[in-house]
Amino acid sequence: MKFLNGITLLLIYQLAGEVGVQLLHWPVPGPVLGMLLLFLTLLLRKGIAPSVGAASTALLSHLSLLFVPAGVGMMVHFEHLANEWLPIVVALVLGTVVTMATSALVMQGASRLFSSETYRDG
């Protein structure tokens, strides 16, 4: 029952998010607004209900499973991917390395400059 209540609440927040972005014409997807709404609720309540905690842990512990159906969609695009495989592969690999390294350096640098605490890194 705990899990069921939790998943129901998550769906209610997702629904609220979907309705919100439609009404406000926001360019963000409904679930992202739903997450923000749930986060604000948790801040106001100053705590996580056990049901929400249970449902969230269950969903997030196998987050990568949820990407499998989209990934299998690759079979529809075999031809497109084969025609432009070089730019796609290089952009994917190099782009991801560059993005990750840049983000890490900026976060590290900015944390040293602006944070209210000193961090030991590296």
Partner: protein
């Protein structure tokens, strides 16, 4: 006539959502078992194994992706509530996040621009079509958001979904090694970089490494989805690509 019975059964099963759903779960659990068996070697990411097994199965049996997705959509749908659920780890790390709001904000903007800019730039230099470039632009953003952005800027949403998953896997595979080479030890910094560059798959990997890294990765993924949805269409417009 056992053969005829089997053929009828197969026709029935391949048209039912049950098959797509069940094989998705079986393929993932095989992948997960292999991953644990290999001591969580990032090269054997369960998503890679599952996708490879499923595509091979569908090719051999001749089941179309559309028929498969009839069943797999139930798993795909859970991406929505899972995105909402990210509020929980976010809240748990709230105290740590509050101390680093400004660095986070700066990193989000730089990271999102770098993510889209590097992939579009590289693809353009190597002669990719405009459609491919636009499909690549939101590759670091979580699937539902990325598909929306792709559609908006003239990419192929379903191709973007594939590129997003590939990006997530690449990030999950190289992340820990990259951070070791860069001598980064701060879990928050690692998490943020992982979440910006490789969204939910990177976040799943980050949670396996460390809870703090996972929370920051989830936060970065959520924030970058927000920033990307607002910034990317505008940015591409400004640079004259759109």
């Amino acid at each position: 006539m056992a053969d005829a019975d089997l053929a009828t059964l197969w026709v029935y099963l391949s048209a039912s959502p049950l098959l797509g759903l069940t094989i998705t779960l079986i393929a993932y659990s095989l992948g997960h078992r292999l991953y644990l068996y290999a001591n969580c070697n990032p090269l054997l990411n369960p998503v890679v194994t599952a996708i490879a097994v499923l595509i091979a199965f569908l090719q051999v049996t001749g089941v179309s992706y559309a028929a498969y997705f009839e069943g797999a959509q139930f798993v795909h749908f859970l991406l929505g509530p899972a995105t909402v659920a990210l509020a929980v780890p976010l809240y748990q790390q709230c105290a740590k996040i509050r101390k680093r709001l400004l660095p986070l904000a700066i990193t989000m903007v730089v990271g999102v621009i770098t993510g889209a800019g590097s992939s579009v730039g590289i693809a353009w230099m190597l002669g990719a079509s405009l459609e491919t470039q636009m499909s690549l632009a939101p590759k670091s953003v979580t699937t539902p958001v990325a598909m929306g952005i792709s559609e908006h800027i003239g990419g192929l949403p379903s191709l973007t979904a594939v590129l997003v998953v590939a990006t997530g896997i690449i990030g999950a595979v190289i992340g820990t090694t990259l951070f070791r080479l860069m001598r980064i030890k701060d879990e928050a910094v690692k998490g943020v970089a992982m979440g910006i560059a490789s969204h939910g798959i990177g976040t799943a990997r980050a949670f396996q490494v460390n809870k703090e890294m996972g929370a920051f990765s989830g936060l970065a993924m959520a924030l970058s989805a927000f920033v990307s949805a607002v910034l990317l269409p505008w940015l591409l417009h400004m640079t004259g690509l759109l």
